[in-house]
C-alpha cells in the first residue's frame, strides 16, 4: 500500500490505498464522500459517475492509481459559493427523482453532457445518458430537468 495523492473537489488528499482499488471505494470509504453510489460494479448503471478533468467516468471501474493528478469532481463538489449548480436546481424543480439513488450519477453525467452539448435535443440526451439507469423510471423528468438547466445556463451566460 502506498500514499496516493488525489485531487477531489479542489482539495488534495493523501490516501492510503492499493493502486488497484476502485476510485468509488476510496471516495466513499476513505474520504467519506458517499454521494457517489455503488450500483453494479461494472460501469453499467452510472450511479457512481464522477467527473475526471470534466469528463464523466464510472468511478466503480476506475482504479484509484490510474487517476494521477487529474481533477476529480463529485456531487459534493458541485455547489459553488453556497449556490446549487443549475442542474441540481433543475432536478429539484422538475422533481426528477423518486428514490433518488441514481440522482448523483444522473446529475454528474448531465454536467458533462451540457459541456459538450449546451442545447441538447431529447434524442441527444437519451443517447448520452443511456448508461445511467433509473429503476424508478423518472427518465422523462430527467430529460426535462436537463433541458431546463440548459436554458438557465444559457440565460445566465448572456
Amino acid at each position: 500500500m502506498a500514499k496516493i495523492p488525489l485531487n477531489v473537489n479542489g482539495s488534495v488528499y493523501d490516501v492510503d490505498a492499493d493502486a488497484d482499488v476502485s476510485l468509488l471505494s476510496v471516495l466513499r470509504d476513505h474520504l467519506d464522500l458517499t454521494g457517489s453510489k455503488y450500483g453494479c460494479g461494472e460501469g453499467q448503471c452510472g450511479a457512481c459517475t464522477v467527473l475526471i478533468d470534466g469528463n464523466p467516468r464510472r468511478s466503480c471501474i476506475t482504479q484509484v492509481g490510474s487517476v494521477g493528478n487529474r481533477r476529480i469532481t463529485t456531487i459534493e463538489g458541485l455547489v459553488q459559493d453556497g449556490r446549487l449548480h443549475p442542474l441540481q436546481q433543475a432536478f429539484l424543480d422538475e422533481d426528477a427523482m423518486q428514490c433518488a439513488y441514481c440522482t448523483s450519477g444522473m446529475i454528474m453525467s448531465s454536467v458533462a453532457l451540457l459541456k459538450t452539448h449546451p442545447n441538447p435535443s431529447e434524442s441527444e440526451i437519451a443517447h448520452f445518458m443511456e448508461g445511467n439507469i433509473c429503476r424508478c423510471g423518472t427518465y422523462p423528468r430527467i430529460v426535462a430537468a436537463i433541458q431546463k438547466a440548459a436554458k438557465a445556463m444559457k440565460e445566465a451566460s448572456q
Partner: protein, 715 residues
C-alpha cells in the same frame, strides 16, 4: 376483492412465510418520556391488526408500543412538529405526502414538520410498507391525529381567552380569534405544559373538496439532500471502528457446506473468519480486503440437481405444492355455458421470473452493545426485520432496534432481513460494528424474484360479443388481480400453488401484472373473434362505472379508432383495477416485421384512485410504473440452471433505459367524492397486455408470454 378494506395477504407474498435464512448455533420504555413539554396525540386503532396486513408467521413479541397505536405526533413548545410512523420511504414519496396530510389538518407549513419513519424504537408498530396501503391507512390516521391536535390547541386558546371556541380558527401555526383578531402561536399555548390525548379513528376530517395542502403538487420535501449527495442511504451509513463484511456464497441454491479450508485467509492481516453452520463470512477493515479474504477461502459444497428456465413452465404445471388451492371463486356453470357458446377460446400464458433490481442493493450496518442490537438497513418491513433478528439471535425483540434510512428503492423486493442478519452475525463475532453491502451479483442471485407462472384461460362467448363462460387458472404466479371485473355469469377462477425452482416473493403490483396480462390479452383475442372493436367489446361486458371511466378517458386521449399510418404500427389497450386504483392504458407500437423487435412509441394512461393527494407525485408514480413495466413486458427474464442465476448483472439483464422511453401521457381522474387509494402499483398493470394487443394489431401475432417474445418469421 381488493377494494375491500379487509383484504387478506396475497398468497404470492411467499417471502413472508419463508423459514429463517440461517439457523445459528445457540451462543448466546419508557415511551414518550424523552419528548418533554408539548402536545402529544396518538391514534388508537379499534383493531390494531385490522388496519394492518396480517398473516406473517407470528405476532411480534416485546413491543415497545401497544399495537393499537397507529401513528402519533408531537408538537413541541418550540413549535416543531414531529410525526412518528412505522411506514418507510423507498422513493414513493410518502415522506412528502404524509407531511402534506399533517400540514393540512394541523394547519402548519410543511417545512415545520419532521417525519420520523421506520425506527422500531421510536415509531408505532407497522407491518410494513407494501400493498399500496400508506395512502388509504396511514394518511388517514395522521390526518386524524393532526386534526385532534388542532382541536386541542383551539380548546387551549379558548380557555386562555375565555371565549367560545367556535370563534377561533387555526391557520399557519396560530390560533386566531375571528372577532377580536388576536392571535397566538401554537408554541406559546404549550409553554411548560404537557398534554396527551388518545383519539379514536372516527374524528371528522376536512373533506377533499376543501383541501388546501393536500391535493397540491408538492416537491419531494427533502429533495435538497438528494441533489447534493448529502442523504445517507443504508449503504452510506458508518460508525467509528466499523469493519466491512463479506459473505461466502455457495455455488448453487440450497447447497450445504461439506468442508472449509481457511488456512490462506487466516494468514491475511486484520481478517476474521466467521463460520456458523452453512454461514461463512469475513470481516476486514476494507471491502477490498474482505473480498480478497473470501476469494482465499476454499470451500466444498454439496447441492442437488435443479431445474433450469428452459423447463420452467412445464415444471410449474407438474409440481403442485400440495396445499389447498386458494382464492377460488365459482359462479354458475362454466361447463354448461361453454357448451352453449357460439365461440370457444383457450389460451395459455407464461410469465417469467423477474428481479426487482433496486438500484441500491441490500445493505445493513449492525452494532451490538452487550445483548442489545441496533441495525440500520433498507427494508420495507423494519418491524418484520426486527422479528427476524430476534429469532436469529434468540433475544427478545425489545433488545433489537431497526432503523430504516430512506432507501434506494425496493419495489416489493426488500421485505426480508437477510442482510441485517448477516451483518449482525459478523458484528457479534467481531465485537465491532460491521457493514455489509451486497454486490449487484448477490442482489440478483440471493434476493427473491417475482414469481414465474402459467395461466390457463378458457372462455365461451355468444356471437353478439356477450361473454358467457370464463375459466382462469393461475399456477404459482399469484392471486392478486385474479378475479375478472367483467360481468360474466359463469366463472371458475383458481390459484394453484406449485413448487418453485427459485426463491420468490412480492413484486410491485404482485401477480396483478400477470393476471391482467392474461385476462386483457384474452379479451382482445375474443373481441377479434367476433369482429368487435376491443374498446366496445370491453364496455359491452363491463358495468363498473369507475373502470368504464378510465377506459373511455384513455381511449379519448389516445384517439382510439384512428387509422394506422405506417407498416408495423399497432394500437392496443389493457386495463383493470388493483389496490383501490383503476387504470386503462393505450399503447402505440412499431414492430419490425423481420426482426420482430417491438418499440413502444406512445403510452396513454388514464388513472383514477379516488381523491388525489399530490397530483404531480401521482404523475411521477404513473410514469415510473409504465417505464418499469416496459422491462417486464419486453425484456426482463431471469435465466437459471442447476441452482445458479445465469444473467445476474446489468450487462446481461436488460432493464429500461433512456432511449426505451416512449411518449408518456397521463390522464388523472380526480374523484374528490371517493377516499384516496395508493398508486404505486396499479398503474403498471395495463401496460403489458396493451403492448401485446398492439403487437397483434401491428403484425397479427399473439403475445402469450411475459416478456413478450415473438418468434421470427420462418425463412
Amino acid at each position: 376483492m381488493s377494494n375491500n378494506p379487509n383484504w387478506r395477504l396475497e398468497p404470492e407474498r411467499y417471502e413472508l412465510n419463508a423459514p429463517p435464512a440461517y439457523y445459528f448455533e445457540v451462543d448466546r420504555r419508557e415511551f414518550f418520556k424523552f419528548l418533554g413539554a408539548g402536545v402529544l396525540v396518538f391514534c388508537v386503532l379499534k383493531d390494531g391488526r385490522g388496519l394492518q396486513e396480517s398473516g406473517t408467521r407470528k405476532r411480534p413479541q416485546g413491543e415497545s408500543l401497544p399495537n393499537e397505536i397507529g401513528a402519533w405526533l408531537h408538537l413541541g413548545e418550540n413549535g416543531e412538529v414531529t410525526v412518528y410512523t412505522g411506514k418507510v420511504e423507498v422513493g414513493q414519496n410518502i415522506r412528502t405526502s404524509l407531511s402534506q396530510a399533517v400540514a393540512e389538518e394541523l394547519r402548519v407549513p410543511v417545512d415545520k414538520i419532521h417525519m420520523v419513519m421506520g425506527d422500531t424504537k421510536l415509531t408505532p408498530y407497522d407491518m410494513g410498507t407494501f400493498g399500496s396501503r400508506t395512502t388509504p391507512t396511514m394518511n388517514l390516521q395522521l390526518r386524524k391525529v393532526a386534526a385532534a391536535a388542532r382541536d386541542l390547541l383551539i380548546g387551549l386558546a379558548a380557555a386562555q381567552w375565555q371565549v367560545d371556541r367556535r370563534r377561533l380558527v387555526a391557520a399557519n401555526g396560530k390560533v386566531t380569534d375571528t372577532q377580536s383578531k388576536r392571535a397566538v402561536e401554537y408554541a406559546a399555548l404549550l409553554k411548560g405544559q404537557q398534554f396527551t390525548q388518545a383519539i379514536p379513528a372516527e374524528d371528522p376530517l376536512i373533506p377533499a373538496t376543501q383541501w388546501a395542502v393536500e391535493g397540491q403538487s408538492l416537491r419531494k420535501v427533502d429533495g435538497l439532500d438528494f441533489v447534493t449527495g448529502k442523504h445517507r442511504y443504508p449503504s452510506d451509513q458508518k460508525l467509528p471502528d466499523m469493519l466491512h463484511g463479506k459473505i461466502l456464497r455457495p455455488p448453487a441454491f440450497g447447497a450445504t457446506l461439506v468442508s472449509l479450508d481457511t488456512h490462506d485467509a487466516e494468514k491475511m492481516r486484520d481478517v476474521a473468519i466467521v463460520r456458523d453452520g452453512n454461514f461463512v463470512g469475513v470481516t476486514a477493515p476494507t471491502v477490498e480486503i474482505a473480498s480478497r479474504a473470501i476469494a482465499a477461502l476454499h470451500a466444498e459444497w454439496k447441492s442437488e440437481p435443479q431445474p433450469s428456465n428452459k423447463e420452467l413452465f412445464e415444471y410449474l404445471k407438474k409440481n403442485p405444492a400440495g396445499g389447498e388451492d386458494r382464492a377460488e371463486y365459482e359462479i354458475g356453470s362454466v361447463e354448461k355455458a361453454t357448451a352453449s357458446a357460439d365461440h370457444r377460446l383457450q389460451q395459455t400464458y407464461n410469465v417469467s421470473y423477474i428481479a426487482h433490481a433496486p438500484l441500491e442493493p441490500r445493505a445493513a450496518l449492525a452494532q451490538w452493545s452487550g445483548d442489545n442490537l441496533t441495525v440500520w438497513t433498507g427494508t420495507q418491513r423494519p418491524f418484520g426485520v426486527r422479528s427476524e433478528l430476534a429469532e436469529a439471535f434468540r433475544i427478545p425483540e425489545d433488545r433489537v432496534r431497526v432503523l430504516m434510512p430512506d432507501t434506494g428503492s425496493a419495489y416489493g423486493g426488500k421485505h426480508t432481513g437477510e442482510t441485517a442478519i448477516e451483518a449482525a452475525r459478523l458484528a457479534r463475532a467481531a465485537k465491532r460494528p460491521v457493514k455489509l453491502v451486497w454486490t449487484r451479483e448477490e442482489e440478483f442471485s440471493w434476493a427473491y424474484f417475482r414469481p414465474a407462472g402459467v395461466i390457463d384461460v378458457r372462455s365461451g362467448l355468444r356471437k353478439d360479443g356477450t361473454i358467457l363462460a370464463w375459466e382462469f387458472h393461475n399456477y404459482n404466479s399469484g392471486a392478486a388481480g385474479i378475479r375478472t371485473f367483467y360481468d360474466i355469469p359463469n366463472q371458475r377462477i383458481q390459484f394453484h400453488e406449485t413448487r418453485s425452482p427459485l426463491r420468490q416473493g412480492s413484486y410491485r403490483a404482485l401477480a396483478a401484472t400477470a393476471n391482467h396480462f392474461a385476462r386483457e390479452s384474452h379479451m382482445d383475442e375474443l373481441a377479434h373473434l367476433v369482429n368487435i372493436d376491443p374498446l366496445e367489446f370491453r364496455l359491452k361486458n363491463l358495468k363498473n362505472e369507475r373502470l368504464r371511466g378510465v377506459f373511455e378517458a384513455a381511449a379519448k386521449k389516445f384517439g382510439w379508432g384512428r387509422k394506422k399510418t405506417a407498416a408495423g404500427q399497432g394500437f392496443g389497450m389493457g386495463g383493470g383495477f388493483e389496490k383501490g386504483g383503476n387504470v386503462a392504458t393505450c399503447v402505440e407500437v412499431a414492430v419490425d416485421r423481420s426482426s420482430r423487435e417491438v418499440k413502444v412509441v406512445r403510452v396513454v394512461t388514464a388513472f383514477e384512485c379516488g381523491a388525489i393527494v399530490n397530483p404531480d407525485n401521482l404523475r411521477n408514480q404513473i410514469e415510473g410504473a409504465n417505464v418499469m413495466g416496459l422491462g417486464g413486458a419486453l425484456w426482463e427474464a431471469i435465466e437459471f440452471e442447476n441452482g445458479r442465476i445465469l444473467n445476474g448483472r446489468f450487462s446481461d439483464y436488460r432493464v429500461p433505459r433512456f432511449s426505451d422511453v416512449p411518449v408518456l401521457e397521463t390522464v388523472l381522474l380526480d374523484r374528490k367524492d371517493l377516499p384516496s387509494a395508493g398508486a404505486g402499483e396499479c398503474p403498471m398493470i395495463g401496460l403489458a397486455p396493451a403492448i401485446g394487443n398492439a403487437v397483434f394489431d401491428a403484425i397479427g401475432v399473439r403475445a402469450v408470454t411475459l416478456p413478450i417474445r415473438i418468434e421470427p418469421l420462418p425463412a
